[in-house]
């Protein structure tokens, strides 16, 4: 439990609690990185369809430096409700998803529920999941 990310996630949770959340649940995330082990995962957690599909704000953003093929993190302090996650594997350290000259992402992209891009990004219905009071776990594959 000494991973710097866990510390920052805990701090974020603390901030959320100080801001006065009535109740909070734990979101346990496991990321399995199947190919390149370099770089970081850039994770964005959304709580509305509008924010997920548009340019809305994520309720949490995480940067996970990749040290092994499996990364586990607990995101505490989220209000129970519906969430969706999208992330990309930042291979080149720019902090932004990179595209080739024809507009195809050159870095892997992944979603909650392991929803897949199939000619289009997965919809909110495909990526969203319920976070109950008791918490929930999601395992996401990246390659």
């Amino acid at each position: 439990m000494k991973h710097p990310l866990l510390v920052s996630a805990a701090l974020a949770a603390l901030a959320a609690m100080l801001a006065g959340s009535a109740s909070a649940a734990d979101l346990s995330l496991t990321f399995k990185v199947h190919q390149s082990q370099k770089g970081a995962l850039m994770v964005a957690i959304f709580d509305t369809e509008t924010a997920y599909t548009g340019d809305g704000q994520a309720v949490r953003q995480l940067k996970l430096d990749i040290a092994s093929d499996t990364l586990a993190v607990v995101v505490p302090g989220l209000a129970p409700g519906r969430y969706g996650i999208k992330l990309f594997h930042d291979l080149n350290g720019t902090g932004k998803l990179t595209f080739n000259m024809f507009g195809i992402p050159t870095e892997p992209v992944a979603f909650s529920n392991n929803a897949r891009i199939n000619m289009r990004a997965p919809t909110w219905a495909e990526v969203s999941f319920e976070l109950p009071d008791a918490g929930v776990a999601q395992t996401i594959d990246i390659d």
Binding site: N100, M101, F102, I104, P105, T106, R116, N118, M119
Partner: protein, 491 residues
């Protein structure tokens, strides 16, 4: 079929069964029926269920020429159908790398599927969920880039100690030339991941590689070192969003034929986005290799083509190249779709034609009238091609060709060896005799599928006497589905 070409034993048996007619015993009738099925052209478009371990080929007749040693590498789709679905276009089968090795007078065959994400996903789904050029993707597919539908199935080239299996709209796959095992997908440079890379790269005499990639009316001009390192990847705009399968080069120019089969709309199946607009005519885009911004577009009458030869430039600057031109893309639109449904629909014949682009004035295309596909030239030298090797003689009532032709541009004569209706002729390649200086002093090498015997055969011809028939023919114990393109690697 000439007397030089010995009929095999099964030919004789089938003929005898026909003569016996009503006197057939039930066993003989069953055998005759089996032979009739074996002669069906559909075996050339059937599924191969797994890799082919290396196996010797049996000599049918003749003798391998002294000095000929090397490997014919060939690619082409060989798995089209799964329980829950199938490819609906011939161009969407899983790439299978064949290696026909000729050594010390004998020959062998091995073949291995390219291990692509598409093949893995389709195998796991037991369906064809990762579509392609003319096949729709299905539910559950993961298609984040064109490489997720990359079948690596059009051609194979060898550079140094590596093979590259090539598709068109995505990355090469690296293959070990000895084991034919897939090493992995090739990302030519991190920022160029998943870029299109056509299956007909062109080579400079020093081994440098030029290639083209295309998405609609955008293209990229690739220049790679002989070993495959990117030296340049420059985006260019195309005057129109034509279907492009091949292109060519001269010493100074890049030549792109823009036929009026153009991408319009954004169907999830690329082929159904293409619209044939014959009223537009065919264009030729000519780019200066040293300055890609310097371009010329010339107009030609409407035609469709897959393949062209190396081009050359006269001292005056006039550019010439050969092309296999059809009146329309009916083979790719209809025939290649119907093949997957097990039916044959005839399409227009491609004819060997010469395109001439003067420095000023009107460009022209002149047909030799010779039916030709899979054109290959000597590959040495940069002047006009003296000879053009090609598949020829459209078979009756079944797809593709049954003859091998060599067109002599000086005599305007096509020498042909016709294997007869039982053989489906694939792309043939030329390799020079060691130490040869004269054009086409060497051998023609390539497979046919003997439909009646249900087996793939490998043939070697004297390139200057193709009409005399094969110098040697070997037979495999299996029919490998019809392949597309590849190359011969000496040694």
């Amino acid at each position: 079929m000439t007397s030089h070409f010995q009929p095999n034993r099964r030919h004789v048996l089938a003929g005898a069964a026909g003569l016996i007619g009503l006197a057939l015993t039930p066993e003989q009738a069953a055998a005759a029926a089996a032979l009739a099925i074996a002669a069906d052209w559909k075996i050339a478009f059937a599924d191969l269920e797994g890799d082919l371990a290396p196996r010797p080929l049996q000599r049918v007749h003749g003798k391998a020429p002294a000095g000929l040693a090397g490997t014919l590498y060939r690619n082409g789709g060989a798995k089209f159908r799964r329980t829950k679905g199938q490819a609906t276009h011939w161009f969407d089968g899983d790439g299978l790398i064949r290696a026909f090795r000729i050594q010390e007078g004998g020959a062998s065959l091995a073949a291995r599927f390219v291990d692509t994400p598409k093949r893995r996903a389709d195998t796991a789904a037991d369906g064809v969920i990762s579509g392609g050029f003319g096949t729709r993707s299905g539910p559950g597919a993961r298609i984040a880039s064109p490489d997720d539908v990359n079948a690596a199935n059009i051609s194979v080239i060898r550079r140094g100690d590596k093979l590259w299996a090539l598709w068109e709209a995505g990355s090469p796959f690296e293959i070990d030339p000895a084991s034919l095992a897939t090493t992995g997908m090739v990302t030519l440079r991190d920022d160029l991941a998943h870029m299109p890379f056509l299956a007909h790269p062109r080579f400079e005499a020093d081994g440098r590689i030029w290639n083209l990639g295309q998405v609609g009316d955008k293209a990229v001009i690739w220049q790679l070192s002989p070993s495959g390192t990117v030296q340049m990847a420059t985006p260019i705009a195309l005057p129109r969003a034509s279907y492009i399968h091949d292109f060519t080069i001269t010493a100074r120019h890049i030549i792109i034929v823009l036929q009026p089969w153009v991408y319009q709309g954004d169907s999830p199946v690329p082929m159904t986005s293409l619209t044939w607009r014959p009223g537009l005519g065919t264009q030729v885009l000519i780019l200066d290799k040293a300055d890609l911004a310097s371009r010329r577009v010339v107009e030609l009458p409407t035609f469709f083509a897959f393949h062209m030869t190396s081009a050359w430039e006269a001292p005056s600057g006039e550019i010439c190249f050969e092309i296999c031109a059809s009146p329309q893309p009916d083979f790719v639109i209809r025939t290649a779709v119907d093949l997957m449904a097990g039916t044959y629909t005839a399409s227009s014949d491609p004819k060997l034609s010469l395109i001439t682009v003067p420095t000023q004035g009107t460009a022209r295309i002149e047909s030799t009238g010779v039916i030709a596909e899979f054109p290959r030239t000597d590959g040495r030298g940069s002047g006009p091609n003296r000879f053009t090797l090609h598949a020829t003689t459209q078979a009756k009532a079944r797809p593709l060709f049954q003859g091998v032709g060599v067109y002599d541009w000086r005599k305007h004569q096509d020498l042909v060896f016709d294997f007869g209706p039982d053989h489906l002729v694939e792309e043939m390649v030329f390799t020079p005799r060691p130490g040869a200086v004269e054009a086409f002093d060497g051998w023609i090498i390539g497979p046919t599928i003997n439909l009646r015997a249900a087996r793939t055969e490998l043939h070697v011809f004297d390139a200057r006497h193709v009409d005399a028939g094969p110098l040697v023919t070997w037979a495999a114990d299996v029919a490998v589905p019809a392949g597309l393109h590849g190359m011969f690697w000496r040694g």
